[in-house]
Every structure is written in C-alpha cells, then in structure tokens.
Amino acid sequence: MSGLTKKFVALAGLSAFVAGNAVAAELTVVSWGGAYTKSQVEAYHKPWMAQTGHTIISEDYGGGIAEIKAQVDSGNVTWDVVDVELSDAIRACDEGLLEEIDHSTLPPAPDGTPAADDFLPGTLHDCAVASIVWSSVYVYDTSKVRNWNVPKTMGDFFDTNAYPGKRGMRKSPKVTMEFALIADGVPVSEVYDVLGTEEGIERAFAKLDTIKDDVIWWEAGAQPAQLLADGEVIFTTAWNGRVFNAVAAEDQSFEMVWDGQIYDLDLWVIPKGSKNVEAALDFVRFSTATEQLANQASWISYGPARASSVPLIGTYHDNPAIKMADHMPTAPGNFANALQNDFEFWADNQDDLNERFNAWLAQ
C-alpha cells in the first residue's frame, strides 16, 4: 500500500470515528426476518453503516412485546431498535417500555415540508415512527388450471360452492374476523362497529362456520406461500410483501385479490434503557428519511409511510420491468376497498377474542 493511500484510509477511518459520537457503536436492530429484513438491510443498514462507521447486528424475531418487556424489566437491554406492529407499539409505550422520539428531529421532506406533515396520518406516535404500510390479502395460484371465474371479492374467498377446496388462514382472530364480516356484506367503514357488539362477533363466527371444515390454519409468515405452491390450498390469506417476493424472486404465479385488504403499519421503536440511544435515534432518523423509504420499496412491495417517498418509488431492484408502485397496498387500483387495522379495538379485545376464537376452533 502506498503512503498516500495509507493516509487516505486513516483519514477516512478517523472521520467516520468522529462522525459516530466519537466511539463506533454496535447497534442491534431487530426485525421479522426473510425478504423483509433483507429489504431493510439493503435500504437502511448498509448506507447508514457506510455513512456513520457504526456497525449493525441484524436479529430476527416473531413479533410481540414479550422480549422487550423482559429486557426492560430485567434492566439488561440488548436490543436497540425494534420493528413492531402498531398495536404493540402503542401498548409498549403505554407501559413505559420505550424511549420517546421527538418528531421535530425527524428529517423534513426534500421540498422542506416538516416531517410531522409529510408522514401519513396516524403513522407518528410518542414512542414510534412508522416506516411501511403492509397489508393482509388473499392469494391464489394462476398456474393451477381450474374451471372457475376469476375470484375478485372477499365474498369469493368464503364461497365454497363456486370455489371448492381448502383455504389457508392465519390462526388468529385478528384479520380473520374482519375478513368474515367484510365477506358477509359489512361495509369496511362499519366493520369495527359491528365487531364491537355481541351480535357482530356471533355473525363473524357464523360466517367462519361456513368454511370451517375447509380451512388449513397457518401460523408462520412463510407458511402460506408454501401451502399454495404445494397445492394444499386453493386460496390463502397472506402478507402482501411475502406474496410479491414469491412472485418476483421465486417465479411463482400467485395473484393477489386486493378487495377487503386490511392494512397495518410497521414502526421503529427503541426499548427504554438501550445502551446506544443516540446512535439508535440517529438510525431511526436516517432510515425514515424520504430517500431511504423510497429505496426500501424497490426491494419489497410495502408502501412507504411518507407522502414525499411515493413519487420516488422505482422498479424492482433486479428487474426493471416490475414497477413497484403498482404493487403497493396503497396503489389506487388496490386501495378501493381497504380497511385499516384498528389497534385500539384489538388492544382492548385481543385476549377475550383469542379465547373465544380458540374455543370456537376446538368445538
């Protein structure tokens, strides 16, 4: 190595050192694994590490706030940034398990719009900043030849006469009960009002009764694509990004039905007592900037949480023929009949409905 290059490397190292709070931090970022984590590594982790000189250790988990609670309660916090669902973010914040995030420190949009106005409504919370919008939809496999009309509505999913065969559904009352009510003719705007009443719950279970014998229940996010590819089921509910990934990266011929989709948010949170709070905040600010959110969308079909990112969404990272904007839950063609998951309803009723759902399953 020549003397000049040596000096240059030393200088580059030093500047990274200075930029990163004088000490290079090691940040543990926890997410859901698979194609989703990969999209975050490519769009957030790598550029942030290059810019700051910090390192990121990426870990996978299965959701829920049990681990965060255990770490905070025992005073041994090893996770610095965690990707959680909205209802969990609200709940963990209420229980004092998370650091607060000051919204005014989030980077503004390129045109100067402050972050508070640029983020979509309901995506910024006291302790959490949303990165993506994801959705639960149902899917079928076009490569299997069947004599049927192309399924178009949520009602078709529940119609065993026109579409005989097994269906995959997530073994959880969340989303499943909403789907049942939408299929039973409840307008999306009234789903949670109906589900909040005893008759509404009975109605959802009655609708589910009509397909109970034909359902295969899945629990892990990777299962539905496998069930469908194996021909175990003709339809399955699934998360839209996973389905997109099976189509774009694994050449499956899956088709999503967007009618009655239920969308939700994924948000960054920082467990209280994290040893790298400053670096963690810096990472959250960096990764929720307009450009990074738009970049992530070229790896997986989850919609960015900022309005200013939407026009920047490009094509799939290794196939310019796939325009990512068309595959987002929020794309105009997909968003016609969509329902936002009501975190407050589920925070209140999750345990009760889960007990009833399991009792119903066991009958």
Partner: protein, 415 residues
C-alpha cells in the same frame, strides 16, 4: 489387654472417632463436588419454578400502581354505588400513572378481568389532567363506562393481589365479587377441553411409542452385534436430527399432495379429488409426535432388555412353556422397569410439546402448551400462564405419584 477398652489408632484416639473424622472429610469432599450442581439446580430450576408458581396466585400490579384508590376499594362492598370519594382518588391515581408512564400496566391488568377496559383507562388517563370536580360527573362525561358497576367490580377484583382468579380462569370459571366462582358458558370454555385433549394425545402417543418401540428394542437387544449396531444407528440418527426438520419432513410426506397420498391415489385406494387429510389435524399431530418421541421409549427399553439373560427364556421353554407363554410370563415382566421409564419419559415430554402441534396441529391438534406460550409471548398475561403451568405441573406430579404407587419408582430404569 482389657476387653472393655476401646480400640485405639496409632496416635491413641479411639478408632471409632478417627474413622468418623476420615468419613467426614470424604463426605465433605463429596458434598463439595456436588455443591456447584446443587447451587445450579436451585438457582436455575427450583427458584424460577417457585417464582413463576407464585405469580399464578399473586399479582400486585393494581395495588402497587393505584396507591390512593386501593384502600377505599378494599372496604367497598362491591355492590353499592361508588362514592365521589372513590372517583376523586381514581383521578389522582390516573394522573400519577400518566406521569409515570405506567398506565398501560394498570390498564392491561384490569383488561384481563374485563375485556374492553384497556382503552378506557389509557384514554381517560390522557385527559385526566384537565378533569375538574365533581369527578364522578366529569369521568362519566368523558367515558360513559365509568358509571357502570362492573368496571368498579373488575377493579375491586384486580385490587386483591393474592387471588384465585387466574386458577379459576384456567379451569373455565370466573371469580366474581358477589357470587364467588361461576362456570363460563359452554361456547367460551377452552382450557379444560385443552387439558383433556393434551392428556388424551400424550396418552395415545405413549401407547403408540410402546407398541412400535417394543419390537425394535427387542431386536436391538437380541440381534448379533453387526446387525444391532446398524439398527442402533437408524434409531439414533433421527434422534440427533433437528426437531423442526423432522416435523417439516412429515408435512412433505403427509400433506394432501404429499408422498403418501400420491401413492394411495396411484394404487387406487383414494380418488384424486378426495385425498386423505393426514396432516393439520389430530392424526398428523399424533404421527409426528410419535415419531419424534420414539427414541425416548426405545432406549430405556433396550437398556433393560440387554440385561435379561437369554437363559431365563430357555429355562421356561425347557420346563414346558410354549414360546408365547414363556415370552408373556417370563420376558415381559422383566421389561416392566423399562416400559415404565420409557412411558413416563414420553408422556411427560408429550405433555409439554408445542412446536410440533403448532406446525401440524391445525384446528384440533392444539395443546395446552400452545396456550401457555400464547400468554407468555403475546398477551403477556404471565399470571394466567403460570396458573395453567401450575395445573399441568400438578397433573404430572399426581401421575408420578400414581406410578410410584402402582409400579414403584425404584423399579424405573433410565439406562
């Protein structure tokens, strides 16, 4: 020499005393060697179990975080109209919890008792700072629910830190302020059903393992070494393979487009459009669990059978017994310690299984351990998980006691 004088060692001390000293030293050394293990078992096993069991009957979240209201709730009879005094104290506690960011804990705790109260607490706490007396009217104006007696009864119940409520829930009952314990309505009962199903599935897995494992263990113990070694490897290889790999392999074999169904269709036993459902139900759970737990039955059986001298069977035959009679009357009774050990091992492991049922269980293959995992990881209702676990532990201890009375624990041979 005087016969009454005690025998002494070379240095004049009585031999008995000297011996005791030497023994004490070696005992101390033995205890010293065992001490780390004992400390480890105490710290990592006994203590956590008791700590968790304690959570099943004791939860002081409400009492600890609502210090003003707690005394007043204790003396309230649970039936009369709540007083203005109680509403005032409630607002004071809500304000404090809002400031401390602990309102979520209180809300979750009351929500366990009465579904739908979580948001009542969190949203009221957000507005608590602005409320003005009289607080009863102010609260009811914020949320109508504050006027309902059942919300106050739920608070009174959660205020009682030492509570039978979680065990009642575990047995599908409700603990109430005025009527004591009442059973839940039929369509809401879940835990007792799951306990019974868990026992049934574990029992059938144990019996299947015994039926399948007994001949294999017999072959292992009696075949010449070069064959039995090969057989042993075939038993141990799956034993060393990851649990998840074996479970997913069963999915590939048993699913409706899987190997078994393809063969059945090809042979003509099943029609192509009505294939058998072998997985995602109780059948699949029992098959996969039996396969996974089989080595735990074979190995103890084998170790017992290996010690039975072949001459016993020959003696029985020479005394005129038929081969079947000699097997049943002479061989089988000697293998009972192995059957007991294997049976108990398989049964106890099966009772706590949850990954396999979660993957292949479908709707009727769910076990009680899946609910315990749910309450530990998702709902964070650790007290209910502890109560469910406590009942499971109690059940296992009763079975162990019954086993000891019927077969005798001294007879058990683990290898």
């Amino acid at each position: 020499m005087n016969a009454t004088q005690p025998i002494t060692a070379a240095d004049g001390t009585p031999l008995k005393k000297k011996l005791a000293q030497a023994m004490f030293r070696s005992k101390l050394r033995a205890a010293g060697l065992v001490a780390p293990l004992l400390a480890f078992v105490l710290a990592s096993f006994i203590f956590p179990i008791f700590a968790l069991m304690w959570q099943g009957v004791h939860n002081n979240t409400f009492e600890r975080l609502m210090p003003n209201l707690t005394e007043e709730l204790r003396v309230w009879d649970g039936l009369s109209e709540p007083t203005e005094e109680m509403y005032t104290l409630l607002v004071a506690d809500l304000r404090q919890n809002r400031a401390d960011k602990t309102i979520g804990r209180v809300a979750s705790r009351v929500n366990q008792e009465l579904a739908g109260t979580r948001s009542l607490f969190t949203s009221t706490a957000r507005k608590a700072a602005k409320l003005e007396p009289p607080y009863r009217d102010a609260l009811i104006k914020t949320k109508k629910k504050w006027g309902e007696i059942k919300v106050w009864q739920a608070m009174k119940l959660t205020n009682q830190s030492l509570t039978p409520g979680f065990y009642a829930t575990s047995l599908d009952a409700v603990y109430t302020v005025d009527q004591g314990f009442i059973m839940k309505e039929e369509k809401r009962q879940i835990y007792t059903k799951l306990f019974i199903r868990t026992l049934m599935i574990s029992g059938s897995v144990m019996l299947l393992c015994l039926l399948l494992g007994y001949p294999v263990a017999y072959l292992l113990a009696t075949l010449p070494l070069k064959y039995s070694n090969l057989l042993m490897i075939m038993v141990l290889l799956p034993f060393w393979t990851s649990l998840l790999v074996r479970t997913t392999a069963w999915i590939a074999i048993l699913q409706s487009q899987g190997v078994v169904n393809d063969i059945l269709v090809w042979v003509g036993i099943a029609a192509d459009d009505s294939r058998f459902s072998l997985i995602y139900n109780m059948t699949g759970t029992i098959i996969a669990m039996t396969h996974i737990l089989l080595p735990f039955m074979i190995l103890p059986l084998y170790s017992v059978m290996k010690t039975i001298p072949p001459s016993y069977m020959r003696a029985a035959r020479s005394l005129g017994a038929t081969p079947t009679r000699a097997f049943i009357k002479v061989y089988v009774p000697q293998t009972i310690p192995g059957m007991g050990a294997g049976g108990l091992l398989v049964f106890i492991l099966a009772i706590g299984y949850y990954i396999t049922p979660a993957l292949v269980g479908g709707q009727d293959g769910q076990l009680i351990s899946n609910m315990i995992a749910y309450h530990m990881q998702k709902s964070l209702n650790w007290s209910l998980a502890a109560a469910l676990g406590g009942i499971l532990l109690g059940g296992v201890l009763i079975l162990y006691w019954a086993y000891d009375r019927i077969i005798g624990i001294d007879n058990m041979k683990l290898g």
